[in-house]
Symmetry: C2
Subunit: 216 residues, 2 copies
Amino acid sequence: MKIFTYWRSLATFRVRMALNLKNLKAEEIEVDLSAGHQMKPEFAAINPMKAIPVFIDDDGTTLHQSLPIMEYLDERYPDPALMPRDPAGRARVRALAQMTVADSHPLVVPRVRADLASRFGATPEQVTRWAQTWLIAGLDAYETTLKRDKETGDFCHGNAITIADICLVSHAAGTRFFEGTIDGHPTVKRIVERCLADERIARAHPLRQPGAPKSV
Amino acid sequence: MKIFTYWRSLATFRVRMALNLKNLKAEEIEVDLSAGHQMKPEFAAINPMKAIPVFIDDDGTTLHQSLPIMEYLDERYPDPALMPRDPAGRARVRALAQMTVADSHPLVVPRVRADLASRFGATPEQVTRWAQTWLIAGLDAYETTLKRDKETGDFCHGNAITIADICLVSHAAGTRFFEGTIDGHPTVKRIVERCLADERIARAHPLRQPGAPKSV
C-alpha cells in the first residue's frame, strides 16, 4: 500500500487516521503542496484533480478523494468498522462527513486561497478570515446537529469512531491552521478531544508528520 | 417521501434524478434559494447546514447532502442499482461524484457567490468567471479521467447509469448556468448527452421544474 501525502493536507490526515484505526501500514510518498508539486504533470497523470490523497492498494487499485478511499478501506478491511450498518445511520455519518469534505474544506484548499489573492488581491489576513468564515459555518452546523440528534453518543454517531469523527477531527485541525478555535463549540470539542485521546488518531495529526512545524 | 427542493439547485437535481431512476415519487416542498429562504430559522432547524436537498423518507428518516441521500436510496431501494458492487468500482464512482460534489459545486453555491460580492466587491461578471474557473477545472479532470480509464463505458463506469453520471449531468447543467459549455470536453459531452436522452434524467432537469425560466 502507498499513500501520496503531505503533512499539512487535511484530506490526507483523514486517510491516515482510517489506516491507523484499521492497523494498516502504507508507504508514504510526499507531495509538497506548499511548493505546488501537486500541479506537476507527472502527478496530474496520477490524479487529474491535482490533489492528495492518492491511495494505491497492494493490487495496484489507485484511488483518490479522502471519503471514497475511507469507504473503500472500510469495505475491503472491515474490522474495525468505520461505518454503521443501517442505511439511515450510514447516511447520517456520510452527511456529517460531507459537512467538512464538501461544504467546508474545498473552500480553504491551496488552489482557492491562491486564486483569491490573484483574482481579488486578497491579503493573507483576508484569506485567513475567508477560511475562518467557512470553517466556523461548518462548526456551527456540526454543533447544532450533534447537540440535537439522539444518535450522537461518545462520538458523532453512537459510541464508536466512524468516518464522521475522522472528518470532524480534520475540521478541527483546519480551524486551528487558520487561527480559529473549537472552544465555542462544546459538543464538537468534547468529541474531538475524545478522538485525539486515541493514539491511532493523535499520531496521524498533521503536526506529528515529517516536515511539520512544532505548532501553527 | 418528501424532498425540499428548488428548481435551480444542482444538488436537488441530483436527488431528483436518483428518485426518477428508481421510480420513487416524493412530494416536493419548495425552498426559494433566490430569496434566501434556506436561511430561515424554521428551515435551519431541519438542516443546520442551511442547504437543500433535504429528504424525508416515509418512516420519518430525515437526511441531507445529495450524495448520502443517493447512497441511502440505493441501499434502501436497490433496484436498479446506482453503484457498482466491487469496492474498487464503488470508490471510483464515489471519487468521480466528489469531483463535482466536493471539488467544484461548493465553490459556486449562492452563499459563496454572495460572499465574494460583499467581501471582495466582486462584480456579477467576476463571480461568473470565478464559477467558470472551478467548473471548468472539474470538467478538465473529468475528461482526463474518463478518457484514460478502462472502466469508462457508455457511461462514467461501465454501461449502466451510476451516481457518477448523475453528478456529471448536474455539473454540466451548472456549467451552463454560468455561461459555460461542455463542448470542449468530448467524453464528458458524450456521456451527458447519453444520460439526457433518458427521460427519467431529462425530466429532472432544473429547466423543467416549476418556477424555472425557459432557458439560462
